[in-house]
Amino acid sequence: MTSAPLPTLMVVPTGIGCAIGGYAGDALPSARLLAAASGCLITHPNVMNGAALYWRDPRMHYVEGYSLDRFAAAEWVLRPVRRQRIGLLLDVGIEPELAQRQIQVAEGCSATLGLEIGPVVQTDQPLEVQLELGASGASSGRIAAPGTLLRAGERLKQAGATAIAVVARFPEDPDSEALAAYRQGSGVDALAGAEAVISHLLVRHLQLPCAHAPALAPLPLDPALDPRAAGEELGYTFLACVLVGLSCAPDLLPAAQAQPGDLLAQQLGAVVAPQGALGGEAVLACLERGVPLISVANPSLLAVDQAALGLECGVLQASSYSEAAGLLLALREGLAPAALTRPVSPLQRLP
């Protein structure tokens, strides 16, 4: 492959039950393929995080959702780095044994993977995560004390952390139908929306790469566990993937401070998103600037598709991420995608 990379944004919204990407990092194989096709994939933790499972590829840039929106809107730029120093922010509401599990995962990632992690701070009061569902069924949520989260984040930044991994104690309902459905491969990740709000708050305030892992008690063995959810039931925490992702996440800078080598929204050659989930800020920002949109069949709760948005033309439809990869290759090679399908339309003649 000799063609220059084609910077590509891959979005799989969290908390809407996407068939691919709505579970434990199960969009990661698709992301790896798109990264190979594009040579430069910018995507967010929901795509990359498989709890105990993860993959690192220099062609993949781990960018939290709020910062992804700011990048797509050309407000921020991404500066690749060799290594981040990851501060660990723990909710004081996590019980001591579970908190110690988080620290041991971090220490293991430091000793075995060579990640630079530290220091560790606790919030000065429990975050008190509240889970919510929107009218659409999409996952959302809040925390009772945003200030305590931000104070802890500032302490880490002042102590030299250049990225922050945050772990919040989440409420549990192990007998809920929603959890059972999720574990068996249907329904929505009920935690996802609140997780996004937590990381969005930190990124907005600190302009540092941040990502979140929930603290939950281990679940009993489920022989019918869906493979897509399995990554979250291999250990005591969801933290390892977050630490690996953050370890080389790009720095976030205002667009006015861009330097050669930074990734800018103006360089985007394509955005790839699920067919019915085109109504998020990053995708809409790309549509503002005419970035080619590849809409992939990936069912979810939502039906905000090309037709709903009145996009009569200019959207490339893919029946799978494999097909999306082919379209990315075509774009990267300068091929007109229309030349790859039949029939080939005759040339337009102007009156």
């Binding site: 709020y66 009218a135 925390i143 969005h200 809409l284 549509l287 503002e288 905000v304």
Partner: protein, 64 residues
């Protein structure tokens, strides 16, 4: 000094003005949300046709 922040979840139904093309929708939506607070996380969750006009359903979390 930490600002005292509050988070508000909201669901809005907004008529989509005919003069706003899809390419300008993001900015227009942010303006509508800004009346309630600073948008932190939001998405269009449905587009509906009502009496030959289009309506947007939004779900959002804003800072107040």
């Amino acid at each position: 000094m930490q600002p005292e922040l509050g988070l508000q979840s909201m669901q809005l139904v907004l008529p989509w003005p005919d003069h706003i093309p899809c390419s300008a929708l993001r900015g227009w939506i942010r303006q509508q949300l800004a009346r309630h607070g600073e948008p932190l996380r939001w998405s269009i969750t449905a587009v509906e046709s009502v009496d030959q006009t289009r309506q947007l359903r939004l779900e959002a979390v804003v800072l107040q």
